[in-house]
Amino acid sequence: MRIDGPFPTAAKERFGPRSPARRIVFAFAWVALIALLPARLWIWQLPSAFALIFVTRKLGVSFTALGKRTLLIWPFVGFTALGLLGQPEWHLRVGNLVLKAVLSIWILSLLTQTTSVIELIAGLRRLHFPAIWVELFAFLVRYASVLATEWNRMQLAREARTFHLPSRERWRLLAQSLGCLFIRAYERAERIHQAMLARGYR
């Protein structure tokens, strides 16, 4: 997935607060409300769920795309559910965990579907997150895909030299290529620093 630049947004129209800072605060507060509601009051999650269905329809975001975003939690949910099996009220507790996790992920996906990374960074600055942290966030978003491309290029170049990965040494060679990528990343950081200095940074 490309994470540099604005997201390939699926939203047909803007909906909700205009300013990214407000949108971030709104989404985080909603997630906190859902995640911290006691398990006994699970019925009160239903208004959130209906509101989310309405917002999703209004924005024109596809439900399958949202479903794919939840894939990462299922191993964790399964692990916890196995631990809960046989406990009193286990179906209520497991169902509650799944409901909370899915609804929270739904909200955060809607946030990233409607707000580009540039807007997110502006919003975080506006909310007075620690300045160095926001800068690191921006750097990560900018350079993660660059380094991923570099990794693919290194692998491709190695295959082009008709290199064959022996299966026994495989992980060691992979780790060494990762070390190579680390050195390239470090040198890139130095180059970026010089470029920033040349443009009058600090």
Binding site: I3, V31, L82, L140, A185, Y186, R188, A189
Partner: protein, 320 residues
């Protein structure tokens, strides 16, 4: 090991936000204390590297593959405070843009993977590498440090899950530790191969404050910020530890019960907060936590007064 939203309750979230916030502030202060303006691009690209490195899958065998977690690697290469900032950034991006881990559990995840894993890795590596002399003798310290870091993170994750009542500690602890003991072996193998390669090729990139200062040691902060960080940490630890407080009597009380002299105990004045609970009809964890926090603040005030008294200006007093 990224805990999703909804798996932790209010007190664990608040407690982890206090501890993680204090730890994050200390790491931020240490990194900011370095006068180098190279810090931001270096840590930024390093967090991008860690993010990209976590997507590289390593074949373990039998069609299963694992990937790098990177806490120990970051702490060895960037030093503990830089590594904590990098892990915080990576976790934030994973939670916000990829929905891996939650917003309310962000602090807990940062506590596990950023503070506990980085701290353990860095401590173990530093104490073991004292005897290392040469690139190949770094193998054992790096391997042990990365294995321990994964295990410590999983232990703290299990404690958080149990502390918020999601699963009982008895059920979750053993599987969690066993699974992560295996994952830690892979982590140790990858990290060791990477670090030995780096030491051979670019030994100047390993964080080594004794010889080459990438980040200068932290400038002394103001007393107020130290007190605030300490207070936040104490409050967080109280909130996190409340569910593990034992209802059983402590040693002295047990002895008193055995010897049957507790009836002889007399109170000279009524205790302000009997049995560590705050008066009022609030949930148990809140009342216990409030009582302990009051105790902490009371002790701090006493200590502060004592310190003021110790540091009073000494004037020569002439007896008359």
């Amino acid at each position: 090991m990224h805990i999703p939203d909804g798996f932790l309750d209010l007190k664990t979230c608040l407690g982890s936000f206090c501890v993680a916030g204090a730890g994050f502030a200390i790491a931020l202060r240490k990194v900011n204390a370095s006068c180098s303006d190279k810090t931001v691009p270096l840590l930024g690209v390093m967090s991008a590297f860690l993010f990209a490195g976590q997507t590289v899958n390593f074949p373990i065998g039998g069609g299963i593959s694992g990937h790098l977690l990177g806490s120990a690697l970051a702490s060895i290469v960037l030093g503990p405070s830089g590594a904590a900032l990098v892990m915080a950034t990576v976790l934030f991006v994973q939670c916000l843009l990829f929905q891996d881990g939650g917003i309310t559990t962000l602090a807990a995840n940062f506590l596990n993977l950023g503070l506990v894993a980085v701290g353990t890795g860095s401590l173990v590596f530093r104490s073991l590498s004292r005897w290392a002399n040469g690139p190949s003798s770094l193998v054992v310290p790096v391997a042990v440090a990365s294995w321990c870091s994964v295990l410590a993170a999983s232990l703290s994750c299990a404690l958080e899950l149990a502390g918020s009542g999601t699963v009982s500690l008895r059920v979750v602890l053993a599987p969690m530790l066993v699974i992560h003991a295996v994952i830690g072996l892979g982590e140790a193998a990858i990290t060791t191969a990477m670090i030995t390669f780096l030491v051979r090729v670019r030994p100047d990139l390993i964080y080594d404050p004794a010889k080459q200062l990438k980040f200068r040691p932290a400038a002394a902060g103001t007393a107020r910020s130290h007190v605030l960080a300490g207070l936040a940490m104490a409050v967080g630890v109280v909130l996190l530890a409340t569910p593990f407080s034992s209802p059983l009597p402590d040693g002295l009380e047990a002895l008193a019960e055995k010897l049957n002299f507790q009836n002889r105990a007399r109170t000279f004045w009524p205790a302000p907060l009997p049995e560590y609970s705050f008066p009022g009809s609030s949930p148990e964890w809140l009342s216990v936590s409030l009582a302990v926090i009051c105790g902490i603040i009371f002790t701090l005030v006493l200590l502060w007064g004592f310190a003021r008294w110790l540091r009073r200006p000494r004037t020569e007093s002439h007896a008359d």
